[in-house]
Amino acid sequence: MSTTTLTPKITMAQAINTALRDAMTADDRVVVFGEDVGPLGGVFRVTDGLTASFGEDRCFDTPLAESGIVGMAIGMAMNGMRPVIEMQFDAFAFPAFEQIVSHVAKMANRTRGKVRLPMVIRVPYAGGVGGVEHHCDSSEAYYAHTPGLLVVTPATNADAYGLLRAAIDSPDPVIFLEPKKQYFSKEEVDVTAPVPPIGRAVVRREGRDATLITYGPSVPVALAAAEQAAAEGRDVGVVDVRSIVPFDDETVCAAVRATGRAVVVAEAPGFASVASEIAARVTERCFHHLEAPVRRVTGFDIPFPAPKLERHQLPGVDRILDAVDDLQWEES
């Protein structure tokens, strides 16, 4: 087991791998399991080498059954362990939906807090990888709508490390959504930095004219859009929500109040989505600061399209800038 040092540039997959490693080293109640997470190291190599380092009991493959995996994790958490399980792709978590909604989310409440489930369900999610059907779903709304689940999604490799450490340490179950298109992008990560608390958004870019509110895979896109807006003379800020549940109203609303204009950006189909929630709550809280309605740039309400068409579904720089342009500038 390597001791952790300041890593110069690592991929998001490596950042997550390091977080798992460090958590397993720090606490032997942490166990990792799922489909192909053992010798193979996961289809995205996120669990690479964990079985070799920590042994079969700490990182292992299961039979191919997602409800069984989540169900077993629940039992292990009931009996004092801290399971971190992997759903191979977003859509393959759906067979476990009942376990997640009826048990993971409700066990603590049902037992008046006597049985909390300190487990993490890691879900590689969203598109941008040219995947075939069922491999690119953005499923955060299902989880965020379910009371009792914490829902977290990193947008940087540093957050991937830090938030996963926080998620594993959390006494409550966390749905940890990993933007899979970023697995192999490299960034500097200081793994010795303090673990960020779950529940805090972060301003990725200050901006005086308008605010983009976004998370996960759309953060780099929003930053690119802000960059381009700047080139066009508009100062657009970007808030990375990071934690969908709990939601950081304070940071988000402060940013929106300062600009009076906001666009929510997310990949998932827009109808009854997390973007709907953000738009609704920001409006409720900042109504008299708003110069224009909060706009949403989201996926269309269609099944995730195939590789050849996915660029049309994903919120891109142009679509974001069009929405910003729409924020009734002439009137101000």
């Binding site: 166990v31 009991d57 299961t62 039979p63 059954a65 409800s67 069984g68 989540v70 169900g71 077993m72 994790a73 629940i74 039992g75 292990m76 958490a77 009931m78 009996n79 004092g80 362990m81 399971p83 067979p95 009942e98 376990q99 009826s102 048990h103 066990m107 603590a108 409440n109 049902r110 037992t111 008046r112 807090g113 006597k114 049985v115 909390r116 009371p147 009792g148 914490l150 959390s170 006494p171 409550d172 529940g199 549940v245 709990p246 939601f247 950081d248 109203d249 304070e250």
Partner: protein, 357 residues
Amino acid sequence: MSDSLSRMLDEHGNVVEGVDPATLPPLADLLDGYRALVVARRFNDQASALVRQGRLAVYPSSHGQEACQVAAATVLGEHDWLFPTYRDCAAVVTRGVDPVEVLTLLAGEWHCGYDPVATRVAPQCTPLATQLPHAVGVAHAARLKGEDTVVMALCGDGATSEGDFHEALNFAAVFRAPVVFLVQNNKYAISVPLARQSAAPSLAAKGVGYGVPAELVDGNDLAALTSVLAAAVERARSGGGPTLVEADTYRIQAHTNADDASRYRNDDEVAKWLPRDPLLRLKAYLTAQGVLDAEREAAFAQVAEEMAAHVRAGSAGEGTADPSELFRHVFAEPTPQLREQSELLAAELTADLEAAR
């Protein structure tokens, strides 16, 4: 082994031909078991009465299935776990949990009543078969921790059709988890008869497909049940992996008080099962063995009555029903959103109070 029925005592309390009486559980244990049956029966009847009196929302009775309830609980050691369904109140009571607490959920509370970790009894589970993978997880964790804990996981015949039954059995087999799965085949899933549930020769036959040893046992014969389940628990404890046990029994009453069984089965069918009552045959046997007499019977009835009185007294109150608890346990630390919502409700309640003045 999975197709022939294990039975020790016949309906009249006689030791079944071919069974060596020495293989029966010790008389003292059977006597304790009989007392537990009497208490379990009384508990079922008391809970049903509370429903009729409107003091309990609903009660799925295990009347007629008490041998399964008692055996499942009594074969376990202190550190073992029990995973019951909504129909298994009597098993939880036999395990030693306060019967008032056991009825909490059914009395209309939002929580399970007892402390699952302290009692080693999981919350009674409503979504069918979903508790079975949890049982495997508890067992596998115990194994990883080097503990010799065994887990008893209960479900009904209907629940065996759910995908989670399959996944749990398979996980248990692959990980050799120390779990005993007890299927109480009471022939009905609400209105749906066994024939619509399965075309297999028996539910125990499902063990083969997982590589799990399975046993079909007379579910109204406490002696046979105890022997089979105790052996399964012992095998699990000593590293031999899971066992599937099908108990052949019958749901004497309706699914719950809300159900009208006359819509889907006739009384003749029920009548045929009445003589197979688990209490009758054990009573006959123990009486014949000379360890049960009217005095002892009365003593047991007395214990049962005290339990019933305790249940009645405990079910009198309105329960906790403190609205602030709505937000307290969802997360270890309420989110800002829940705090806001909790304050909103508190303000409403204060306003209501003031308005009522």
